[in-house]
Symmetry: none
Subunit: 195 residues, 4 copies
């Protein structure tokens, strides 16, 4: 469980990474952002790595729960993928820093332990997405001429780049509206052509 202060710290860290990159994530900056002195941070986190681990935990909790839920519910594959898209986009709208960090694995390259954790989560989520698509293929919802593994890359790749484009666009377009169009296009691509 996380204390209020810990949540504050993680949030501040996320925002700093988002705005200034990993190099801007210093204990001093975090402390300033939440209005305390540097040593105060160490009452709540043993060291900087623990803060980064906490960020990844947050990521893990959120996405894993989400993917698991999706896997289990009764909706079809297209609905699930649509939902996946929407959720990511909503999350991004609410806390852009969070998603921005999620899609930038390189940021954590510095520490072995962080790399391991991030890869673990990515692999797990990927496996679930593949399973969802596979099921969709069996149920004749998703086209079968392309392997589920490849389709999973197309889906996640599209989602990631779409989100990143928004992030980097100088004039922020309407993420939600555009997102819906994007997912419609994507689904058109991967669903079984009934024409």
């Amino acid at each position: 469980m996380q204390t209020e202060r810990q949540k504050e710290i993680v949030l501040a860290a996320l925002e700093l990474i988002n705005s200034k990159g990993i190099q801007g994530l210093t204990i001093k900056n975090i402390a300033q952002k939440i209005g305390v002195t540097e040593p105060a941070i160490y009452r709540h986190y043993e060291n900087k790595i623990q803060i980064l681990l906490s960020i990844l935990d947050l990521f893990k909790d959120n996405t894993e729960r989400f993917f698991q839920d999706e896997l289990r519910n009764k909706k079809g594959a297209t609905a699930k993928i649509q939902h996946l898209f929407n959720c990511h986009i909503t999350a991004f709208t609410k806390s852009p820093s969070f998603v921005s960090v999620i899609f930038s694995e390189e940021l954590f390259k510095n520490e072995e332990i962080l790399m391991l954790k991030i890869n673990e989560v990515i692999d797990k989520n990927n496996a679930i997405l593949i399973e969802i698509i596979s099921k969709g293929q069996i149920e004749e919802e998703i086209r079968r001429d392309i392997s589920a593994t490849h389709l999973a890359i197309v889906v996640m790749g599209t989602l990631r780049l779409f989100v990143k484009k928004w992030q980097f666009a100088s004039t922020h377009f309407d993420l939600k509206a555009e997102g819906e169009k994007m997912v419609a296009s994507l689904l058109l691509l991967i669903t079984k052509n009934n024409n």
Copy 2:
């Protein structure tokens, strides 16, 4: 024009970012890698930012030339996209660090000037890719039920994620062979169904 030493420095910088992330890119590390002392670096580059700019220039030169060439030649859109894929993958095989850095815009978030440059290149390449796809649609090579903009995101997103997956995979699969399969799947998705 770049001197030999400058090329060495840029190469070392790329490898450092690739292996240790942005935080591992220090003048000291660069100097060590090419076997000189730190001040020697400053004979060849005014400061660290110039080195990063040089990396982006390298990126810009390589990709822009490539995209321009593609645009102009007489091949069809699918051939062009296939080529795009192959080229990126070849580049990645030759110098993984280079491509790895390219797809990680966040790494340069620290400096306004770097952000501007990277965005500029990305936008330009994107515009060309969209043009290629548009032409393909006009020539009835590429499916027309999805906008060229969206298809461009699908193509680039897939390429990026595919390459990143290779990069992060603990056991490196055969990038070239798998890349060919991936692009085949991708083309299957976006070309006009002649079935």
Copy 3:
């Protein structure tokens, strides 16, 4: 008078100095060792220096009482020195940290007030030891060809080094048994040769 907690703190401090040296003596470490938080320590001691003073007080009380008692009793000088040796060794066996700290005046070099106190005790004890030896010389028990001052240095120096050797030995020999042999040798040296 010392409260229970104060005794606990002093004991913990002694053990810390013994095991990790002066640099390991931090309020945090003391608190951890007795299972409380750092501020709790300040309920019992005004500050860190007071804890160190307490250690020296403990030292002072123990040794001064002992030396005084020795001086007054009716035993001969050799018996007294033998007793001195035994007592130190017994004390060392019981609480090694205590004696280990005692023989390391440098540890307290940081604070004027601590230095003064430690020197005071040492001087007093030394004076008594000299008196004991002097008496022994008058009573023809101790050899007279060497001044009492010098003999005192030999006795205390031998005791200190002997104990330190035990402390630093990787495989701890039997301190008591070896101590008895050592004092026998020492007495052989300083007593009047009746051969």
Copy 4:
């Protein structure tokens, strides 16, 4: 080999330990003492531990060479011990900080590696001293009723305490003159009584 600056640093470190104890040995203090800023120190020593190791090396070089020389020369045991005493005292007069640090093994308790090194040197020197005394006993110069091991403790213990007494004395007596008297007494104790 040591550069001039390294010698300066080691010297400054020694003096700091001597005057303020281990707690006073900070990079800042060293830097101040030799009139540079803190980072400058790191051009000459990788870190603080290396500085302390350098101190121990200095100790090792000086004492080991000395002990070895003594062992080999043709003088008798008493002359050797006398020389040992004189040398230590001369060294102490020249650079009190050096000897003061030498006799305070606890100061280095913090780091395993330092402890190992200091013990190694002490053991070696002790072995040589015992050998010197043993020879002296064979040659009927040193009394044989006490083991060489015990006599070695008496000799070194006396030397150490004598030197420490000088160090802690508020009014510094004449170390050289008093040292000669002390060693005379000591030799009287351990040499074969020819009376």
